[in-house]
Symmetry: D3
Subunit: 190 residues, 6 copies
């Protein structure tokens, strides 16, 4: 079979609407994880017809006080709108230009608000409401945006990064790093 | 002021969260037009921080039996999910490869379903329910995707295209073209 | 065999000049179709060496009063020059920015004139001379630009688009749509 | 005024068909230069509407035994078709992969033949007919492809490249280089 | 003055070799910071002629036991070679595909070894030698790659990210976050 | 096996650090060729993990009075820094804009200086020191930049370019061309 971009490129004679479709993908609330969120991403793995087309879409569920923890998308900008509840969101700029390094830009979003997380920057969403869940729809400018949850990648990698390196990088004792590396770092992107 | 891509590139010292934010953009039902729809697009015109980032997002309202009529986006693929109601959607492939020309791929979408309209192809959404409105969220792979509503561009251009040309192209009498060109072609992208 | 972009990528040891060549491709007048034109496109299907190189070339023959009817190229800008005869050409802009929607920009071209049709916009060429044919050379900024003839895609798709949808979109009676859908929509890109 | 890509981006309200048009650009034979050719390129300098659109077109006139001497386009692939006469054309591949270095791929083209010169490779066209001129239309995959005539750039630069360097690079005596540098290297791209 | 991409595009008549040159940029050892490194990046800010050209180069100095701490480049892949000493380097993959999440790929590099850090992934270099400094040359696939030092962006942003959010994200007590946020997070990219 | 871009795309489960690594690649002086240089390029052929990542790195050795002769990279900009010795470097601009054609921009580089050779332009480096070798590190903005050594491609192609064509192009007698074509044109990119 012919592949483009690593994915099967179906014979045009056999392409049909199902190649551009995913049923019941984003309507249902989902169980949230330890940090209180669950990202349901529809990308080229779920819809083969997205291959080469540069976009994907996600539903994000947030438990009360839940968060989609600090993470980056190495290959996509994200645009998000709130469907239900309230979200406190933000991103941190890079180390340039001096002296304007690592600015934290944040906003409280209500239903219908739209916010943009530029490609590659560390960002998060947090549901500040202790009683009600929140729901957002997010779109990403890649068929396969990738996600790097900062804590998971730094402290939960397999194998672990040397605790000497991390202790110095994070200015803490090695046993703090060891403790962090011993935790369970649950993925919230399913 | 510095411009990138034709848009003002704000001094990094003065950038703030509002440059990546649009309040109350997509939560409210909107009055639909003559064909029974209303597209509320949040692109680089509404959120300056989208400049160079390659994505935008829209809410589409559909009246009962309303439609977002056949149109193309010259610079974007669209991915859509239904928030409320039901939509009959589809797109037509190009004239290649023979003999597989102009295939119409369609689907009935319910709440939570996701569908993809590849860049540049003619597509539409129609709300088949005679009693209830429908709502969708769509994302587009461009900060400024553009929209060409086929009927409006062909029969409602300013000035009008020669009726000689259109009569032959559409295999109808010139007075049919003249009648079509005399109609009011309302835009549903606001 | 290795494929790049879905096309065979020949072993460099075996590449030769024929991989970049097509004989007698664009010199001969060709029989025009029902709307009075015939597009002879030399793209990556005809010249394998064009793969990844982003360009193609075409000869277009126009019968007296013939036209290359309103169409778009979803992946290419077109630049055209007239070799013989006269052409009335034009394109319609998208629905942005208001109030400048759907402007029709047209020109009468004589031998040696050059005109540009920007990517994704609806455009056509018409030979206004009732006695003489016309010929043009066009180049397109893609190895596989695609073509969507508006009337064919809207009224001649397989299967047909619902006449309910089209009647409302084009502001005509359903039986007008049914009549249009019953016509033969001949392709002029061979 | 707003600029995109270094070129003025006209107010959409004021754009008209002339921004996409160049009259009488490619129909007339032109006087050829010392090497027997003349390239008439219509790019973004001549048609402002080409800005960002990635294509340009040229007419090339060849005197009997004239040539468009070995050159490269640093930003474009070229596709060429012969309108009149005969051309001997070719390009040389790069130094990879060994042992397949610097292969010369050539072809004699007659009217209507099409040939492709891949981006950045050294290529030429030569009219082998001692009595008749030749004419070609070429399209290039850039709004501003650039041209580097090898002999002119190497031996006719301003200021001159050190003759020590060139003598060793071309394995000739320094006085041969000096003689070459003393010649007049006429440009054939106007 | 004309700008392209936000940077001044000099009049071609006035361009000279200095626009493509930076003197004495990468030869001298530099004082390392608190984490024991110093990145000297030559990008479009230092060499204006790099504008639009998609590359930059850096020298990185490492003190004994110094590190270039975990960071990402949102817009560039990095390729690095060791000039002096030894480096323990690595990167962590993203959370896809399951169950292959967050793999840590590492290597000890000696003089002349080459290693690649793919775009957007968290990576670091560490000099394991307690007595000798190390030096590397790195190239990045962007004229302005950006750098996000993870610890600085997460714990040293201005203003600070809510400690509620970070405590949950990093599975630690809020006072640990408060302590981290009270530290001085020194930038090592100058 | 899955291929992307013509190269094997390894199963993510089996990827390891060696896929991003090349040992002892750039530390050792290498024997220089007839023109006195040797380019050791580490590209996607040497490090499979570079596939799609758009960068490569090279060490260049120069004998006393040796040169990396005039050449172009059809797919990459080059940024170079001197590690040892002195280099006289330069590039020639294209034939635009008139009257600013074929400007030669040159510089003498010492250890630690950085210089940029824009994509597709003819450039060289020369070691003016009759006694000492020189060494440089260069990075290129492509995983497979290609190299076209001008003299080799023009006079050493296989088969040879017609001496009629070259004699006219270079304004010399045919026997000069024949003599040049009879030389051995050694490649310095290994």
């Amino acid at each position: 079979s012919v592949r483009v971009n690593g994915f099967v490129c179906k014979n045009p004679m056999e392409v049909n609407a199902d190649d551009f479709f995913k049923a019941a993908a984003l309507d249902k609330p989902r169980v949230t994880n330890k940090v209180g969120s669950n990202v349901t991403l529809i990308n080229v793995m779920q819809i083969a017809g997205l291959n080469t087309l540069g976009i994907s879409i996600a539903r994000i569920d947030y438990a009360p006080l839940g968060q989609n923890p600090p993470h980056t998308h190495p290959r996509a900008t994200e645009i998000l709108t709130v469907l239900e509840g309230t979200l406190y969101v933000g991103f941190v700029t890079s180390n340039q230009p001096a002296p304007n390094r690592n600015k934290f830009l944040s906003k409280v979003l209500n239903k219908g608000d739209v916010f943009v997380f530029p490609v590659g920057l560390i960002h998060f969403q947090f549901n500040p409401n202790p009683h009600k869940p929140a729901v957002a729809i997010a779109a990403l400018s890649s068929q396969n945006p990738g996600a790097i949850t900062i804590a998971n990648a730094v402290f939960g990698s397999d194998p672990q990064i040397s605790d000497d390196v991390l202790a110095k990088a994070f200015q803490v004792e090695k046993n703090t790093i060891d403790w962090l590396q011993a935790q369970f770092w649950e993925n919230n992107h399913n």
